[in-house]
Amino acid sequence: MSVTISPVYLFNVERGQPEAAELWDAITDQQLADWEAEWIPELFKALQKLRRAGVERKHWPQSRHWDWRRKAAALQGILAHQGFSVMCNGLTQGMMFVDTTTKRCRVESQKSKNLVYVKFVENAPWNRKELLFDPPRYRGIGSILMRAAVELSHSIGFKGRVGLHSLPQSNGFYANACGMTDLGVDPDPDYSPMRYFEMTSEQAVAFVEKGGKS
C-alpha cells in the first residue's frame, strides 16, 4: 500500500504549543493495530469511569463499533473508500474513512451532485474531554481531517463538497467550527437519530479561509 504523508501540526495542550504531526492518506495495519491495542482499551477504561461516575450516556450497540474493525480490513484496496489518519508522537491520533462514490448531495443548491461522504471519523480517546481526559492530549485533529476531506473533494472534481452523519455530541463541531448545513435528523433507521450535515462548495471555501489564507 502506498502512503503519502503530509506534514501538519497538532496543538499539545499540556505544553501549550504546536507539535509536529503527520497526515497520512491511508489507514494501514499500523493505524488498525493502534486502534485495537491503544484506543480500545483506553476507550473501555474511560467508559467504565463514566459509568461509575453515574454519567448518563447514550448507549449504542457495541457491535456497530466492532463491525468497523473487520470492515476496515475489507475496505483496504477499494478505490471508493479512502482512508486518512493523523499520527503524532508515534501514535495514531485520528482516523477517517470516506466514500467518494456512492453518496450524493442533499442540500437543495447542490442536490444529487457527487460529494465526499465521511463514513467514519474518530479522535483518539485521550484527546476527548468527554471521556474525562482533562486536559485532552492534542487538539485539532477534527479540523485537519475535515480539511483532508475537502481537499480530496476538490482533487476529484467535487468542488469541496462533503457530507456526514454526526454523532449527537459532535453536532457543535460540524455546525459551528466547520460551518456545515444541518439537514436535521436522518429518518433512515441506519442513521437515526444522527443528524446529517453537508458542506457546500462555498462553505468549503469559508472553512479553509477560517484558518487564514493558506
Binding site: T4, S6, V8, Y9, L10, F11, P18, L23, D25, L32, A33, E36, P41, L43, F44, L47, Q48, R51, R57, W60, P61, Q62, S63, R64, H65, W66, D67, W68, R69, A73, V118, K119, F120, V121, E122, N123, K129, R139, G140, I141, G142, S143, A148, E151, L152, H165, S166, L167, Q169, S170, G172, F173, Y174, A177, D190, Y191, K210, G211, G212, S214
Partner: protein
Amino acid sequence: MRIEITKDWCIKMARLEDDYEIGAGAIAVDPVFDGEKAAADTSEQSEPSIAFGRLLRLMRRSQGLSVEKLADDAKVEMEELVGIEEDTHFRPKIRTVYQIATYFNLPQANLLQVARLTTPRDPRLTEEAVRFAARSEPVVALTKEERAALDAFVTVLSERK
C-alpha cells in the same frame, strides 16, 4: 495525495476546534461496555481460539476454582466462562476477557489477541498460543471428581421419559 496545510492553519483551527467532540459516522459510535456480545455479526464464523479456552481452564484449575466460583470472583457470567472453555468457536464479550485479564493479572491487549477478539499483531504471541494449545491437551485419566460428575450426568442423560 499530498495535502498542503500550513502550521498556522492547523493551530488556528485547533484553537477554534477547542474540545469539541468530532466523531461521525454510523460506525463511530462508542461501544457499550457490557450487555452486548463482542461479535458484530453472529452469522460470521468466528475464528477458533483453543488456546484461550485451554488457558482459562488451566489457570482456573491451577487456583482450585470451580467455574461458578471464578465467575463470581471475577464478576463475569458463568455462561461466558463455560462457552470459552468448552466451545472453541465461542465469542466471549470483550468485558469478560477484560475481567479475566484483571483477575489473573494478565495484560488485557495480549489476552484479547489470544481470545481472537483482535487481529493478531504479535506473531510471537500467536505462535506461543498454538504451541500452548498443542502441549496442554490432557492425556491423563479422569480424576475422581471428573469421573463422579461424568457418571452423574450420564445417568441424567440416560433417563428415558
